[in-house]
Every structure is written in C-alpha cells, then in structure tokens.
C-alpha cells in the first residue's frame, strides 16, 4: 500500500514538473513597440533618433524658409558610426530620408544607385533595343542642393552591477554651393542595465 502511495506521488511529481518546463513559442510582435531586450542599439533607438531628427529638421525656421516656395533637393551622405558596436547606420539614414520625402518638403537624389541608373541609361541609348525618341537622355539629371550628414557616437561605462550606454546622434544640413551648414541638431539616448529585485 505504502509502495503504491510512493509510486503515485513520484508519478504525480514528475507530471507536475513536466508541466512547468519551458517551451518555445513564436508570436508576431508590434514593430513599433518599445524594445528593451538588451542594452545595445535597438529598433526603438533607431525609431527615436530618426523621428526626432526628422521632426527637428521639419520644424526649424531655416527649413521653413527653404521649403516655402520649392522642394529642395538633398542627398544623404553616410552617417559615421563612432560607437563601439556594429550599427547599420544606412538604416537610420534610410528612415530619415523616407520620412523627409514623405513629408512632401524635400526631394532626394540617391547616390548609391548612380551606377545602376547609368547602366539603364546606357542600355536605353546604346543597346539598339529602345526607341531613341523615347529613350531617357544622359545629362538631364538634377544635382542636389543640400547634403545631410552626421555622426553616431557612444560612451559606455560599466561596473559589476550596472552598465550605462549613452548615444549621441548628430545630423547636419549643408548647402553644397556655399558650404554653409544651414541646420544642425543632436539627440541623445541613455540606457542602463542593472539588477533589480523581483518580488512576488
């Protein structure tokens, strides 16, 4: 009888233990949600930096004057990554240029696709496959008037209990003809990772 009770107890225990094991679950998440998985540069930081810089640029009085009667043409130079992490800064510039373009205030030329555009024009002009009257002409492109460029820097500090990361993103708008910097702004992000007591 006692043996039976023991066996039953062990079986019950095993069942209950098995009922609390981890199992992997796949879910779709909100891409715009604040993400705090770890301390490194994440999607929320990218969205925050791109959003704040775009808003600041669009609200500046200088840009108000520049865009009052025309849509200035810009090109985005790369953002220099001066942090200790690998960060895809092209993704930040993509977000900023897309937001600016969608605002209807600016137009852009894409310097990363110049070679592809040249190949296409060359094909239209010289392959003999395209009606020359309808082929796009060389030498008709419009040059950029302004250049957007910037830096992303970080300071990382840590002790045994806490890690602190500070990011500083600087963006500038230069008038290509005069060389004057017409607008500049910077935004900061501070993230800390430490131990917290959990209670229940």
């Amino acid at each position: 009888m006692k043996k039976l009770i023991m066996i039953t107890s062990v079986a019950l225990t095993l069942t209950l233990v098995a009922g609390c094991t981890n199992k992997s679950v796949v879910r779709y998440g909100d891409a715009t949600e604040v993400e705090t998985t770890d301390i490194s540069f994440g999607s929320t930081d990218l969205q925050k930096v791109a959003g704040q810089m775009t808003d600041s640029l669009l609200l500046s009085p200088v840009v108000g004057t520049l865009t009052a009667n025309s849509r200035p043409i810009m090109f985005v130079e790369s953002i220099k990554n001066k942090t200790s992490e690998h960060i895809d800064t092209e993704s930040i510039t993509d977000s900023i240029s897309t937001k600016l373009l969608r605002s209807g205030k600016f137009r852009f030329v894409d310097m990363s696709r110049v070679e592809a555009a040249r190949k296409q024009l060359d094909y239209q002009q010289n392959s003999g496959m395209v009606d020359t009257a309808k082929a796009m002409q060389f030498g008709k492109q419009v040059g950029a008037q302004y250049m957007l460029y910037g830096n992303l820097a970080s300071i990382v500090k840590s002790n045994k209990d806490q890690t602190d990361v500070y990011y500083k993103f600087t963006l500038r708008l230069m008038d290509l003809e005069s060389g004057l910097v017409e607008w500049a702004d910077e935004t900061e992000i501070r993230k800390t990772k430490g131990k917290e007591f959990v209670s229940w």
Binding site: K2, I5, M6, S9, V10, L12, T13, L16, V17, G19, C20, D30, A31, T32, E33, V34, T36, T44, Q47, K48, G51, T54, D55, L58, L59, V63, G64, T67, K99, R102, S103, G104, K105, V198, W200
Partner: protein, 155 residues
C-alpha cells in the same frame, strides 16, 4: 525494529509531501500577459478641447498619471502637437506614448508607422513631449500613453 522502520517511512512520507508541495508551487508558475492598456484620447482636431476626448482605459495608471494638456498648432504646414503628462506618483514611471494621425475625412495616415516613444517620468514630474504630423494632409490626431510592459512570471 518495527518502530524504526515506521519512523523512516514517516520521514520519507514527510519528505515526499514536502517535495510535492514544492513541485506544486513551482508548477503554478505561468507567463502573465503584460498590462497594455493606458490613458489617451480619441481623435482631436486643432481647436477642440482635449478634456472632452480623454479616454481612461487603465484606472490604476490614471491614478498615477494624468494628461494635463494637449496643444496643437500648424508649423511649416505640418500639425505639431505638444502633450503634457503629469505624474502624481512618487516613483519613476516608465512610459511609452504614441500618436496616430488622421486626414480630414478621419482616415488613418501612415498606419502602423508611428512608433511608441519611451519616456521616463520621474516622481511628481510634468513633462511635455512633442509630436509632429508626418505629412501636410494630417487634420487630426489621437494619442495613447501606457506603461512599458514587462513580462513576468507569477507564482
């Protein structure tokens, strides 16, 4: 002899009962979905009183935080919004806020592209956070504030 066996069995039974209790305790753990409701507003057009549009979906949060002001104006043809949040709580609130933008017909613009922005609101602090419409066709907006959800295990 019989007494000692009985003692051992009693000890074993006690141990088993203890083990069972611990197991039951652990097995009661489960993932608790985080609270994602908050406070916010329905569609507000410039010039409208914000107090008539407030929505308090989370009374617990509404006790610690209230929307003290919502202002809007047009700047460089774009709708600019300032949202003032006041904490009535002594500790820091880890919040996130989001704006949603609508055109003149009330259709949502740039759906799913307006990110949640993190905001740390310190004890009893009032903070004003800005929002800027993504396009010149925005005529009204809504906003929502909630705590940064943390998934935790409940025993």
């Amino acid at each position: 002899m019989t007494t000692s066996i009985a003692k051992i069995m009693t000890k074993r039974s006690a141990l088993l009962v203890a083990a069972l209790s611990v197991t039951l305790f652990i097995s009661a753990c489960k993932n608790v979905p985080p609270v994602t409701s908050g406070v916010g507003s329905d569609q507000i057009a410039p010039g409208q009183k914000f107090s008539k549009h407030l929505q308090l979906h989370n009374p617990k949060l509404a006790k610690k935080l209230h929307i003290s002001d919502i202002r809007s104006r047009t700047n460089n043809d774009l709708l600019e919004v300032n949202l003032s949040l006041t904490s009535t709580y002594k500790k820091t609130l880890q919040l996130q806020y989001q704006f949603t933008w609508f055109d003149k017909d009330g259709f949502v613009l740039e759906a799913g592209k307006s990110p949640w922005q993190p905001l740390d609101l310190h004890g009893m602090q009032t903070a004003t956070v800005p929002g800027l419409a993504p396009t010149t066709t925005v005529a009204s907006f809504s906003l929502y504030v909630r705590e940064v959800p943390e998934e935790f295990f409940k025993f």
